[in-house]
Symmetry: C2
Subunit: 515 residues, 2 copies
């Protein structure tokens, strides 16, 4: 009997939240990432109880364990937004169809694969089911927001009159829907959760400064909390947000060597202000159009977290985002031993609480320690502590770190300091590991043959010269599936020739295959 096949009934047991039916060696059930990266990713998301596919095609259910990681991301990001002067608000879910047509580029980019609401009532039908009431047809169809620029700028029109109303620094946490045909949990789903900042400014300079500030906030979050090194740059015209004059992005390298865009910040110039007629009176009492930005990150960051750090034993969660930072597993043969151990564990838990370190004492008697070890490894808890009768006698603990899977025996006197240090070490180590991986997998390429060879046979980023035309960009994409991930900010000046066309170029750009 194969426990790891995806037969519906077994699978049902494997993903149950309390995980009581998962066999001890469940982690071995993961496909190795070297063998099938895509399946490995999917299995981690499912088996570590992060998310699953919903009954509605392309949508996902974010399970409590996964959601608690997302909540931590939200909390950190929300704090960073507020520190930089932003306030939250909420705008409606639906967009009147006509709004889309107002900004010419935006409509091209977004008014395509959308969920369209056409009716507002159901009625009982004769067979006992229900059917759409055709008499309740909307005069104008409503689109479930794929992004909210149009509704927000239509609203800002009423909020902005004078330079005194500016800047307007607003963010919203919301769900959005883009009817993607090929979906993958967290990376690309029809509905996803995100935040979208929408700001309005009196000057171009201020709006550009805001755009840059927010991409730097994202970069800081990615590096310090997600433990994912990112490169900041701007998108080419082809890859730019529909309606933006400039799109800043952060790009990260996943373990399979593909790039993942982890956040974007758009300078929208006066495009939406013009489309929705949003003007203000400047200090000289003259009317001007307002300058805009928008910026967002989404539950896609959960995908980045999984793909950047996890291994063949399962998830590896960066300590600052871990719902449980320390799990404690007792090893005992009888109730008396458990009572002794529990007393010592309780003291440690009190100390951890005092330090603001989250912990779980896994004293379930229904599972053996080996099972618990595998389960918490799969779920990516940064530090695992075991204590058995011998440790109790010796006044020690066995401490295992998730990132390296190494173990140490630590005396009770040192345990608290050790854990604190370890959490920082793990955070630093997983970041450094990802940084090294990126360094090892970034290729400076000067010929088209080399480009084609590397993009086909090696993972990672390619730094190459490009002639700056969309035509070349599209041809490269058509031939290799590689896209320009970004144009570096303040790129190093270097006279060179476009790797494809041979035309002159003054600096390199970053290519990769991407999610």
């Amino acid at each position: 009997m194969n426990f790891y096949s995806f037969e519906p009934n077994l699978f049902k047991e494997l993903v149950s939240f309390n995980a009581n039916f998962i066999p001890n060696n469940m982690a071995k059930g993961l496909v190795k990432k070297e063998e099938n990266y895509s399946q490995w990713y999917n299995e981690i998301v499912i088996k570590a109880d992060l998310a699953e596919n919903s009954a509605v095609r392309g949508c996902m259910v974010i399970k409590p364990y996964g959601f608690s990681i997302w909540e931590k991301m939200q909390s950190v990001l929300d704090g960073m937004f507020k520190e930089t002067g932003h306030q939250n608000a909420y705008f409606q879910l639906f967009i009147p169809k006509s709004f889309f047509s107002k900004e010419a580029n935006h409509v091209e980019g977004f008014a395509k694969e959308c969920a369209v609401v056409t009716h507002y009532r159901l009625k009982n039908c004769e067979n006992g089911g229900i059917e759409v009431d055709e008499s309740a047809k909307l005069e104008e169809e409503l689109i479930v927001r794929p992004t909210s620029e149009t509704i927000i700028w239509n609203t800002y029109k009423n909020w902005i009159n004078s330079y005194r109303d500016l800047p307007l620094l607003v963010n919203q946490w919301a769900n959005v829907v883009r009817w993607e045909m090929r979906t993958r949990l967290f990376l690309r789903t029809a509905e996803f959760l995100w935040q979208e900042g929408h700001t309005a400014h009196a000057t171009k300079e201020e709006a550009i400064a805001e755009t840059k500030q927010m991409i730097e906030v994202y970069a800081k979050f990615a590096q310090e909390y997600l433990g994912v090194p990112v490169i900041i740059g701007t998108k080419t015209e082809n890859e730019r947000f529909a309606g933006a004059e400039e799109t800043y992005c952060i790009e990260a390298l996943m373990q399979d060597g593909k790039a993942l865009q982890a956040g974007t910040s758009h300078f929208l110039a006066q495009n939406f202000a013009k489309a929705f007629d949003v003007k203000f009176l400047n200090k000289d009492n003259k009317e001007e159009y307002v300058w805009a930005t928008s910026w967002g990150v989404s539950t896609r960051l959960m995908g980045a977290l999984v793909m950047a750090h996890s291994d063949n034993n399962g998830l590896v969660i960066p300590p600052k985002l871990a719902p449980i930072q320390v799990v404690i597993v007792p090893i005992y043969k009888n109730e008396e031993q458990l009572a002794d151990i529990t007393e010592r564990v309780d003291k440690l838990c009190q100390s951890l609480k005092g330090k603001g370190i989250s912990y779980k004492f896994d004293n379930r008697d229904s599972q053996r320690p080996g099972f618990k070890f595998a389960e918490w490894e799969l779920k990516g808890v940064p530090v695992r502590i075991a204590i058995g009768p011998k440790d109790y006698e010796n006044n020690t603990w066995e401490v295992a770190r998730r990132d390296t899977l190494s173990k140490e025996i630590i005396s009770n006197d040192d345990i608290l300091n050790h854990i604190e240090t370890l959490l920082v070490d793990i955070k630093d180590n997983i970041y450094q590991k990802a940084l090294n991986f990126r360094a090892e997998n970034t290729h400076r390429v000067d010929t088209w043959d080399e480009f084609k060879d590397i993009i086909e046979n090696k993972p990672g980023f390619i730094e190459a010269h490009w002639d700056g035309t969309s035509e070349t960009e599209e041809k490269i994409k058509a031939e290799t599936k590689a896209t320009i991930r970004l144009i570096p900010i303040d790129p190093e000046h270097e006279e060179g020739k476009c790797v494809y066309s041979g035309k002159p170029s003054k600096h390199r750009v970053l290519f990769a295959k991407a999610y």
Copy 2:
């Protein structure tokens, strides 16, 4: 020129977020609540920058100031849910139409005024606009969730196998849509924000205990944070949640004497487990259906907050939910005076920060103090402090409390303690005021003539005997618009006769006109 008319252009200025164009005496612009309660409510919501109607009929935009109050509510409630063992998760926005038909009562209650998604693509049309792509019609229509029992129980089917998987204690913060025809900001809108708890239990007793626990959590929140006294009870069969066996509710009395249901908690028995075939293996290894609860509060609580405490000067926010608890307004004639005052204010702000009290130093030079006083009154800030040259010399502050509008001169030595005490006083006072109002407006009624007289001419609750039949309940509603708000928990036994039918009754129930 009348500044307070609702001509579009002036109105636009009146609601701008920074409120720089609102004339000094703007609060006088509020309709008196005694004259037109409904308009008074609407004007407070709009002018205090809480929310406004969106471009989509029946939906609302929650503005930053309003949203910051809702965020505080969320944060407190979320903490209470977690303390009682619940975890957050996220389930998809869309419900396949067929899911509704699975629970017979639920379909009657919810599958009516819903937003229906029928297509998933738009295309460009010849006139330059966009149109629905008829070739992208969904095989099965999707309903935008009006509540999530059906999708969640369809999901729980895969999460629950054994008694070890229970209880499952999950909450979700989400937007929902009910296509209401007559809407009012916060009280009844097509889209609103809420939380919905959905729990699964092994026994009936445990599910009932959960249902009761959560209505008590809501009652505690309403009383301690919203400052709104509530009565806990159960709904009659007519008023019950569609699909529930028992609905617990909290009912509050608004200042116009109408009742507002502020939260509900439903014991769903095994109805959804049976509809979605969710069984578990009990300790004796036998299959049983799972027992369920669901419970929710929504942005309607914002409406309760406004209607319970506000006065003709504007909003009154309970201190624990106030985004700004203390506002400080400097009064000065020249830069030198402002510099002196600012120095002292900065010290006070540091002390407030140390105490975790939120504050704002309103040093805008574009507005006079009188304007600022009126603005912060309108926006309901609990404590307002003014400091002028004379206060500076005398080492004093002028402290005004929003609930009573009274002022005191307080010495600098006492100011911090005074503010702390005042915030508690205000909290207690607004609760007590609401409690007194309810006591004065609760009528014990024994005859039908008296009932009709009171329901027509006096605000408030009526305690009366009822024969326990839906027939009588419906007749009373048809004749007076009064509904049974709740059946008290453990009602005082009292032999009596139904106020309408004269049939025997053993206890009173609570009637009122309601929102």
